[in-house]
Symmetry: C2
Subunit: 344 residues, 2 copies
Amino acid sequence: MKERTVTIYDISEKAGVSIATVSRVLNNSSNVSDNTRKKVMAAIKETGYTPNAFARGLGLNTMKTIGILTADSSDLYLAKAIYYFEEELRANGYDSLLCCTGYELKDKKAAIDLLISKKVDGIIFVGSHFVYPDAADNKYIINASEKVPVMLLNAEVEGDNIYCVSSDDHDSVYRATRKLVESGFKDILYVYNSTSYSARRKESGFRDAMKDAGVDISNTQLRYFNGSNEDVHGMSAMLEDVEASGFKFNAVVASDDTLALSAVKYAQSKGYNIPDDFSVIGYNNSMLTACCDPEITSIDNKVETLCKHLTSILMGVLSGEEMPRKTVFKGEIVEKGTTSLKKD
Amino acid sequence: MKERTVTIYDISEKAGVSIATVSRVLNNSSNVSDNTRKKVMAAIKETGYTPNAFARGLGLNTMKTIGILTADSSDLYLAKAIYYFEEELRANGYDSLLCCTGYELKDKKAAIDLLISKKVDGIIFVGSHFVYPDAADNKYIINASEKVPVMLLNAEVEGDNIYCVSSDDHDSVYRATRKLVESGFKDILYVYNSTSYSARRKESGFRDAMKDAGVDISNTQLRYFNGSNEDVHGMSAMLEDVEASGFKFNAVVASDDTLALSAVKYAQSKGYNIPDDFSVIGYNNSMLTACCDPEITSIDNKVETLCKHLTSILMGVLSGEEMPRKTVFKGEIVEKGTTSLKKD
DNA sequence: ATGTTTACTGAAAGCGGTTACAAAGCTGAT
DNA sequence: ATCAGCTTTGTAACCGCTTTCAGTAAACAT
């Protein structure tokens, strides 16, 4: 280990050809005779040479790498998205430079600078934590889009070089909530654990649904859980607190399956009969929905579809095609055991 | 978008200095007067210049990037590990190039070549799927280690430039199993969903424990679940099948919390009283353990500790220090509601 | 005024590739 | 034999940055 690394010059010397020829073989470009090709190949095999991607990148000004930005790669949903992106990108000959930024704006900015300096060919913002309510705060995304195509999963920002693929969160929660009301559950608690763009969309879906269903809501019945999304205990405690504070609810709509799961545990500890006396609807339709009994009715926002579609749009952009700036998919309410919703 | 990118020459021209000076400012090296520094800074700010990391990397022959290899980044445990690695590496000024290889050997090899051509400063193999029972199959890891330091999480391979950090899986399962037997549960079903290195260690921990406890075991009581680790239903079906095949068990030791969770669901559906008549021990102590009632006793293998330690070893190696080739941490049996183990 | 330091700054080489352009080697047609 | 036209190969410029080495200017000592 640690001998001087083999370069294209070593290969050219060993094979008795010029570096240009070696380069041609490497990029299996046309116009190399079988004979020389073989000699070069042999030299490469013999030395275990691997081309230096920097040097190549310097010349070509592309490294075939896409930056993937996420707040927290260990989140169940985001991890799935990252997985699909990585898979799709690789299939298209691109690599993934992963940056977990956390939730601080300045860290996000730093991560973007870094990705740009590494000359990524595009940046995918995974998850809606990157988009702020105040448009001015989203300037940093626009800035990034001036250097490189920007893809947003589950978020929306207007821009020349920005492409958004998202699930219609507002619509999904809206439909779920209305169905719940129509099925006789009016005392609904809405719980959420994020204030991201899509979280805000979900919340407004809930509010609009309640309004259109003619049910007045109070602020006590929307509850923000400000803790780790693995903290099932903390979530249950929050539900206890809501009850203690005087709001008696018989249904929970959650922005996330974790919260839904803690709602199921809460309801069961209170002796409620699910789904007859108590309903729960989660979000993401993750494996967590299968982790309790009854299993949780949840909204499937089709993360695989979203990711594949987003990647294909990015590939189109990179090859210079005109691509849609905004693509929205409908979510699906997957009914399992925690609801008995009125059929349409 | 798409104007010619700003280079160090543009800055030097704008600031009226040479590119060397700009470079010095960029690397805040010594010997630049405040005055020129200010001029350069201003030019940088004005143009929004970001240095080209290729060019820098070409010269320095390092890109401050670590390759992270994993079979499946969406796995709960692996995703956590990746998260910690990314965090620690970033804190040390390194980036993470993520490659999800899947489970095919040739894909793993291809991924490694790619990482090496991108001149990563090191490679972290996340998870034990990379190590095969037959040493000859692990040659590809040795090969990689000839070019770049190789770090193995939860696996072991001998080699000059290979560093292993792992949890003592054998010991953890051994202790858990023995405790279970000592607590009166002898008809234990061992279920696993992987044949990776650490999975094999866990299994031998179970076998040794049973042997040392003087309990004969049959092959029917070790069951491999060959399906997605999100398929809770499939797992439950497998348990039904074990029962149907004639082995009556009153305890389950699982190589993974998912399997443990399905065991809890199974036991509850059969009307068993947990933990008095039926015990379950999981592995990883993930959030899944809190997703059922009673919560699952599980082995915590301290992934955060492992990852941080591994990263610090890698940093040591990269700065030329002598570092331990093999570090093993003990796991911890975290007792919750699915067991009532005899106290020591 | 002159010699010596010290503090900055610039010119140029080099990192390892790609590629435009030129040159050389063959082929077959004249 | 000569030449056009093709294929194959080599030369050298260039990508954007770091860094060595040399040079200039200012500051200080004599």
